[in-house]
């Protein structure tokens, strides 16, 4: 039983952590940036956002094929259905250029999030 209790304690702590996170998140000013995907090109290809603030990236896919919005450095990976729209949360970043791409067309479809 001891091990079982330990496990439920861990699960409980995790659940509590999730709970606390979802409700106590401070109302920070979030920077929203929208990118569209058409003919397998991002537009704008190099959106600019301020450093040190949480970011929400909205991706609208105007193509008739699905894509997967992905970035190693932004740490995101999300499928965007044909004609669909998704958004991803990105942590506050230090200045620099962060590459993102369509995982299904990585050679041709890329852009950079410019953080200043």
């Amino acid at each position: 039983m001891m091990a079982g209790q330990r496990f439920s304690f861990f699960a409980g702590a995790l659940a509590l952590g999730l709970y606390a996170q979802s409700f106590d998140a401070p109302a920070q000013d979030v920077t929203k940036v929208s990118v569209t995907l058409k003919d397998h090109k991002f537009s704008p290809a190099e959106p600019t956002v301020p450093a040190g603030k949480p970011i929400v990236i909205e991706v609208s896919n105007l193509d008739s094929t699905p894509s997967e919005f992905e970035s190693k450095t932004l740490r995101v990976e999300k499928a965007v259905p044909a004609g669909g729209k998704i958004s991803v949360q990105v942590r506050p970043l230090t200045s620099g250029r962060y590459r993102f791409f369509d995982d299904y067309h990585e050679d041709t479809t890329e852009g950079f999030l410019v953080v200043k």
Binding site: A3, T65, R75, K78, A79, A82, G84, I86, Q89
Partner: protein
């Protein structure tokens, strides 16, 4: 064609490795082959459904449905792998030590096999849904290159099956005595890596926002998108730019599995010893 092959292969490596490991772990256990086959099939069906309803899933839960769904199935895999390891720690020893208890052990063994069947199903479903989405896209795009791209995709899938076979053959070549220790370690690391991936999805959804800083950046040394990086990513959870929270989740999961395995394992061993002493 080569492009499609590579994209599909990249997605199926992880599921291929996991199924290969599970096949090796359950080698010789009655009913395990059926459980794995059903698991993989269920995963393929699930993947197709997930891809077909990608839009609806993505829009669910205020736009974070995709992340929550991914995190959830990864956590299911973590729990199932943990369960299996703990079961092996307790019954594997007992099985060897006390023949009279084998009947009972085999019965609970089928539960452990079920757990691993579920692991195969969720691994195939998660990775496969991206492949299915990609292939849907090819069909939707149409045009003269579609056939060629589809052939490339199918070859990519075949290469994924080859990874399963290689993993299995590589593992079963290990002497039986050591195989148990190797697979226990492999499954623990695999589970920890999956937990870290699940956390990443919750961070992307904005559900977990703490400890989002990058713990280290080894992308210049070994990118986790390279072939070797991908294999390591699955096997031991390697990531070239993990967040601090991912590292915490990895260590916590590993610690929980080790503690559970040791406690349950040693308690069982003591119980078996006591029973033998009473009988003798």
């Amino acid at each position: 064609m080569l492009g499609a092959l590579i994209i599909v292969f990249r997605e199926v490596i992880e599921a291929g490795l996991i199924v290969g490991i599970v096949l090796a772990v359950t080698k010789g256990l009655a009913g395990s082959r059926l459980a794995i086959a059903v698991g993989v099939l269920a995963g393929v069906v699930g993947a197709s459904l997930v891809a077909a309803f990608a839009g609806a899933i993505g829009e669910a839960l205020a736009g974070v449905g995709q992340e929550v769904f991914n995190a959830l199935i990864l956590f299911i895999a973590v729990v199932m792998l943990t369960w299996h390891n703990v079961w092996m720690a307790s019954h594997g020893r007992e099985l060897a030590a006390d023949v009279k208890r084998v009947g009972e052990a085999v019965r609970s063994g089928s539960q452990s096999i079920f757990a691993l069947g579920v692991v195969c199903a969720v691994a195939v479903m998660r990775e496969g849904s991206e492949v299915a989405l990609f292939m849907y896209g090819l069909l939707a795009a149409g045009g003269s290159t579609t056939t060629e791209l589809m052939i490339g995709s199918l070859l990519g899938l075949a290469a994924g099956v080859a990874v399963t076979a290689l993993t299995y053959l590589g593992l079963v070549a290990i002497p039986q005595r050591r195989l148990f220790a190797v697979t226990t370690a492999l499954i623990s690391l695999l589970a920890a890596g999956l937990a870290a991936q699940a956390v990443l999805f919750l961070q992307q959804a904005g559900i977990l926002t703490m400890l989002s800083q990058t713990a280290w950046d080894t992308s210049a040394v070994l990118s986790d998108t390279s072939l070797f990086g991908r294999v390591l990513h699955t096997l031991v959870g390697y990531s070239d730019q993990p967040s601090v929270l991912q590292v915490v989740a990895y260590c916590a999961t590993l610690a929980v599995i080790v503690v559970l395995t040791k406690t349950v394992g040693s308690r069982r061993a003591a119980a078996v010893k006591a029973r033998r002493a009473a009988a003798g």
